[in-house]
Every structure is written in structure tokens, then in C-alpha cells.
């Protein structure tokens, strides 16, 4: 069940589409006063919004090798692996997962050799019980959930009796 109002969801939807949108532009789209928008966004940034990020084409920066790694590690190494993934510069996203595995990490490198080095280091440092590596070919859809204003209206529509 949605835990925010329709107005708040419209603001979040705007920020999902363009996190650098000005308050003035957002006010015209949402018909919410600029001062209210300012307050709501400050409020969101205390918890509901974790960060505003530039989504980058890493290949154009020279980092053309991307992979998603699913890991199952020895129970004793879980905390250490978690810390390693969080601190490692080449890990873009990391999640704790279930269904037989412990972590999923999106990693980004210049080339396959660096990726293989990373995997080798991981297996040297920790007891990796199992892993799957999915090499990323292309982004098809990126950060689209709640980016559509129509979805915001649908989600906030009164439920049928």
C-alpha cells in the first residue's frame, strides 16, 4: 500500500525523471507551490530519497566492461564480503539477496582483464562457494520505476470497493 500522498508521489516522479529539474519547472508541472516543493524535497532527503545521482554511460568514460555478479559465500565471510563490496571503488551497486545466494554486485572496469583480477582477488580473500557472472551488453531500461506521471496517478487512484 502506498505510504505517500499523490502530491508527494508526483514530486518524486518528477525527481525520478530529472533530479536536476528546477523548482519552478516542477511547480508548473505539478501545480504545487515552489515553497511547498522546497519543503517536501528537503523532507524527502531526510529518508525517502537516498540520493540524487547522475546516471552515466560508463563506456564513454573508458569503462566498457560491466558485469553483474551473484555470489554465495561462506557464512563466516559474509560480513567481510559485504564490507569489501561497499568499499570497493569498482562496485557500482550492491545488494543483499536471498534464494540460495548472498550478494548481487554490479561492477565496472576498463577491460576484461581488470574484471578477472577483481574476481580472482575476491576468491583469494574470501571463501566463495558459488558465483554467476552476467556480462552486461547494453542498458535497455534505466531507473524508470515511478518516473512516469501516469503511474503516479494510477497508484494514487481510489481503489474500487
Amino acid at each position: 500500500m502506498l505510504s505517500v500522498s499523490q502530491r508527494d508521489l508526483m514530486v518524486i516522479s518528477c525527481l525520478r525523471r530529472n533530479a536536476r529539474e528546477t523548482l519552478t519547472a516542477m511547480s508548473k508541472k505539478t501545480r504545487i507551490p515552489v515553497s511547498t516543493l522546497f519543503d517536501r524535497i528537503r523532507h524527502f532527503e531526510q529518508g525517502l530519497i537516498r540520493k540524487h545521482a547522475a546516471i552515466v554511460d560508463f563506456a564513454r568514460l573508458g569503462y566498457s566492461t560491466r558485469a553483474n555478479i551473484i555470489l554465495k559465500v561462506n557464512k563466516k565471510d559474509r560480513d567481510a564480503v559485504r564490507d569489501y563490496l561497499v568499499r570497493n571503488s569498482f562496485v557500482n551497486c550492491a545488494y543483499k539477496i536471498n534464494n540460495g545466494y548472498d550478494f548481487m554486485a554490479e561492477v565496472i572496469f576498463r577491460n576484461m582483464a581488470e574484471l578477472e583480477d577483481f574476481l580472482g582477488t575476491l576468491e583469494d580473500k574470501f571463501k566463495v562457494v558459488d558465483k554467476h557472472v552476467y556480462y552486461v551488453i547494453d542498458d535497455i531500461k534505466k531507473e524508470e520505476f515511478l518516473a512516469s506521471p501516469q503511474l503516479a496517478e494510477v497508484l494514487c487512484a481510489p481503489q474500487p470497493a
Binding site: L9, A19, R20, R50, A53, A54, Y135, V136, E144
Partner: protein
């Protein structure tokens, strides 16, 4: 990429909503230069600016990663593009074709999605539930990554 571009990009990765004045202070360059760099980055490496919410806090506690493959790749891709609950889709190599992140407000929503998915021919999937987010869009910002080592001449 120029060093000034990387400095500004680092700041935009750290907080995309910060003002030009704020970036100017942190990157130690005039705001007018920051503006030029931001515009340049938007034409080259920056795809979009997106706020990353706490989905559970918004009322979407079920977050699922799926590796998918189907007999008709295009039909699967069209389905994933059209579904509003699908946040991210990447094309991958290996035993599956797509890696997908999907969000739901409850188990019923997830079941409905899986039913629609199973209507596609020959769908094979692996599903993992996200128990916790440890890191999000963390590649950059950080200290500037070292340049690749250059080959010695002669």
C-alpha cells in the same frame, strides 16, 4: 576526459541536485566553467539525472532481481519495456538474456507479474529477492580513479 570534467562529474554522481555554486566551491572552479562542463557532460556521458528513493519507504517493499530468457527475445523485451513495475533492464550474455529489477507493493502484484511473464513462450527465469540495498550508484564519486598505465616508448 579532462580533469575538470571528471571533478564535476564526481560531484554530480555524489549529489545530482546540488547547485552550480555548490559544485563550483567543491571543484574549485568558477560557476560559469561548471555550467559549461555540465552542459558538455549532458551531451556526452550523462544519460539522465535520477533520484534514488527508498522504495520500501514509499510502499514498495518487494524488490526482485530476475535473470530471464524466452523463446521470443523481442516479445520479452517489449513486455519488460511496457511494464511500469520494471525499473531496470540490462541485456546480458550467458545463460540468460536479460537481467531485470522489478518492484511491487505486495506479493499479489508480484504474482500477477509472474503470471503475465509465464504467458510468454518458453520463459526461463531465476529470481532473487533483494533483502537490502548496500550500495547504489557508487562508482564515482571517489578520489579520481588512476589513469591506465602508459606504455614506455623506445
Amino acid at each position: 576526459m579532462k580533469a575538470i570534467d571528471l571533478k564535476v562529474l564526481n560531484e554530480l554522481r555524489r549529489d545530482a541536485r546540488q547547485s552550480l555554486a555548490s559544485i563550483s566551491l567543491k571543484a574549485r572552479m568558477p560557476a560559469s566553467t561548471v555550467l559549461k562542463v555540465v552542459r558538455r557532460l549532458e551531451k556526452t556521458v550523462v544519460k539522465k539525472y535520477a533520484s534514488c528513493p527508498d522504495y520500501a519507504g514509499l510502499g514498495f517493499p518487494i524488490r526482485v532481481m530476475m535473470a530471464l530468457k524466452a523463446d521470443d527475445r523481442n516479445a520479452l523485451k517489449e513486455f519488460l519495456m511496457a511494464e511500469p513495475c520494471v525499473n531496470n533492464v540490462v541485456k546480458v550474455s550467458g545463460e540468460h538474456e536479460f537481467l531485470v529489477e522489478v518492484l511491487f507493493d505486495g506479493l499479489l502484484g508480484m504474482e500477477e507479474f509472474l503470471e503475465k511473464l509465464s504467458a510468454l513462450s518458453g520463459v526461463q527465469k531465476r529470481v532473487w529477492h533483494v533483502v537490502g540495498e548496500l550500495k547504489k550508484e557508487g562508482f564515482l564519486p571517489q578520489p579520481l580513479l588512476p589513469e591506465p598505465s602508459r606504455q614506455k616508448r623506445g
